[in-house]
Symmetry: C2
Subunit: 403 residues, 2 copies
């Protein structure tokens, strides 16, 4: 497996484009993205579990009932959610792509991200379509920029891998930042691959993968209304179609997981206002469910997050978050260490504090990527969750987001 450039355009047959069409007032910020496959592709998606769902999700879900798609259109700056004409606008967006590209509207995945509850005007999108289509090329970075909201960095990756002797490529772009929480298809992620895989197996791969990846990321505990992870697989790598479990499917799953874990870490590390990526690893749990519940509880604790911002080895808050997680844990068996590039330090053994050097702990916690390593010593199950610290800037960004 090898990491390469190109993002969503790395796989054979995929092009992308991103422009400023005018949904946002700031003309330097792209607000519309298009991803296109030369040929119809197998497609699958997972969606937010929020009962309040963005209109684009409803339209996309309908379009993907046959497991096929050929393009993704996504705008930022407006979520097209809680609007009376939301469905109508989302359908217009796919109709515009259908018209310009000569593909069925049902083969278009539609997504929107931004402010909730403000009607989305179709005019700038319609006016921008010619430029958007003309821009199609090896421009994953433009598309990645077009879907960003409060993200500070573009999030893209691509890798190559082998299936049955054929070289396949899988790439993706993501937008994250705020309103991000487990138990849903978090944030917006678009993945493209030239691997040949049936719609059924693609859906199976995606829904299985996200349980341990995007559903284990939390920035702020708020489950968004518009989150979606969508994947298109156009088969142009020429491998024998994956139609069942086996070595080929496993190879695909491994590649998919490599890309999604990378994007999870990017999304968490670029959480709104974040200065640090937090990775909480829980091992020795009596079940995977317990490990996941504990890892998510710790990563979501405002007090743990604020302590990490201050590089403060306040492990009592970690114990506290384990204790209120709802998981059945013997707190008297819990060990906790903090880990980073400069070292590892044990701060709690058997649920009780141990003596440790505050100075060394501070050095470890001053790093940009912090591991919170929790050993429950009650079994063999394990889980990882990703999050970020809680900072002044999170408050600043969200104190007046709309203006």
């Amino acid at each position: 497996m090898k990491t390469i450039g190109g993002g969503v355009c790395a796989a054979k047959g995929f092009t992308a484009s991103g422009i400023h069409c005018g949904i946002r007032k700031n003309k330097t910020k792209k607000d519309l993205a298009l991803i296109y496959s030369e040929v119809q592709a197998s497609a699958a998606a997972v969606y937010t579990q929020n009962l309040v769902k963005g209109a684009p999700l409803t339209v996309t879900k309908k379009h993907l009932t046959n497991g096929k798609a050929q393009a993704v259109i996504c705008n930022s700056g407006n979520a097209n959610t809680c609007n009376a004409n939301g469905i109508e606008i989302a359908e217009k967006m796919s109709a515009l792509v259908s018209e310009k590209m000569g593909i069925p509207a049902e083969d278009v995945i539609v997504a929107s991200t931004g402010v909730i509850g403000q009607p989305l005007d179709i005019t700038p999108i319609a006016d921008g379509m010619d430029a958007l289509v003309a821009g199609l090329g090896d421009h994953s970075d433009d598309a990645a920029e077009g879907i960003m909201t409060t993200d500070t960095v573009k999030k893209e990756i691509a890798i190559t891998f082998e299936i049955g002797g054929k070289t396949c490529t899988l790439g993706g772009i993501a937008k994250g930042s705020g309103m991000i929480h487990p138990n849903m298809a978090t944030m917006l992620v678009f993945l493209t691959t030239d691997a040949n895989i049936s719609p059924e197996m693609l859906a199976k791969a995606l829904s299985s993968d996200i349980k341990n990846t995007f559903n284990m990321v939390s920035v702020d505990g708020d489950t968004s209304t518009n989150d979606m992870v969508a994947i298109m697989a156009n088969g142009m790598a020429g491998n024998a179609e994956i139609t069942c479990e086996g070595a080929d499917f496993d190879a695909f799953m491994t590649a998919l997981n490599t890309v999604t874990v990378y994007l999870c870490r990017m999304i968490a590390g670029d959480g709104e206002g974040a200065t640090k990526l937090l990775e909480c690893t829980v091992s020795g749990a009596c079940s995977e469910a317990v490990a996941k519940t504990v890892a998510k509880s710790v990563i979501c604790s405002s007090l743990v997050k604020a302590a990490m911002f201050g590089s403060d080895a306040n492990w009592g808050r970690v114990l506290c978050a384990i204790g209120y997680s709802g998981a059945d844990v013997d707190v008297n068996k819990v060990d906790v260490s903090f880990v980073s590039a400069v070292g590892e330090i044990l701060v709690c053994k058997d649920g009780t504090g141990v003596e440790f050097s505050e100075e060394i702990a501070k050095q470890i916690l001053l790093e940009k990527e912090i591991g919170i390593d929790i050993r429950l010593n009650s079994g063999d199950a394990k889980a990882v969750a990703w999050g970020c610290d809680l900072t002044y800037d999170y408050v600043k960004i969200n104190g007046d987001y709309r203006t």
Copy 2:
């Protein structure tokens, strides 16, 4: 019913005291409090649901098995939690009160609040006992100060009410601020009354009341390890002992609720870093459980809290928090208004935004007490939850709490 001064010393037979004994380095901050009843009182308490429980809770629970108590000792600056010798220290604290006051150690309620996982030295407490006892008098404010951590204001109240023609008094002090979340006996609250009520009915009154009061308060979503609400009723008002439900019990419940709601509002409004008290009222729910779940979800949303800090009428975040609450809600029937002393404004009707004046909304949201009024239009059940805004100062306070 009448509000009076005196806090926990307002009821007949109660005195209190608060001193700086040296647990904290800052000598201007009191760190030890004592509340004492002339006679043995009926007593009841509710405790945090966190699996990690402070040692004082274990000791207090044991002491209250007979439903009787005569004193409360509480220190701030150290939670006496996750320490190997925690139980031993908590028992020493009650033994010190027992010795000085000539009452059984089993009649002492013990509580601690502060940093988790640092051994609590008994020496300053033992050395301070003479001064603490000598200070006993009409000093509810000293006791209220002694239990404060990051609280910025003392929290106390007392009221008088009638039971069977006798005037009774009920007062309380509280400490709140951080690590405060529903589904437990939140924070530290000590209540005293001279009403005559059996231990069983006192326990029933308290456990019933907190479901709609302290369990509906959230500052930061972190359920503390040390939270406790304890009440002593010494019977000195001379009313006929309340031993069953009826008019007298109802009068007592009403008085108790008046005091606890007052303290809930004080705790939420003085949440760490808070500039505003948020009161979320959910009505028209199909069940009380749904109303509570929705109200708590909204009050706990970091994004709603940050928007309120910025006086931003970002109602989409309210809808979003309703949608991910887990409650079965028809989001297409939901109405939302923001309310404060200067007026009320409808921002969402039937799950969709309505046109409203941003200017008027801003005026309403610039107030210190904000109501978020949610009507589910699906039934008759109702609930109220209290919280606060998320501010720079919350991050500041918690980014480096221990140093």
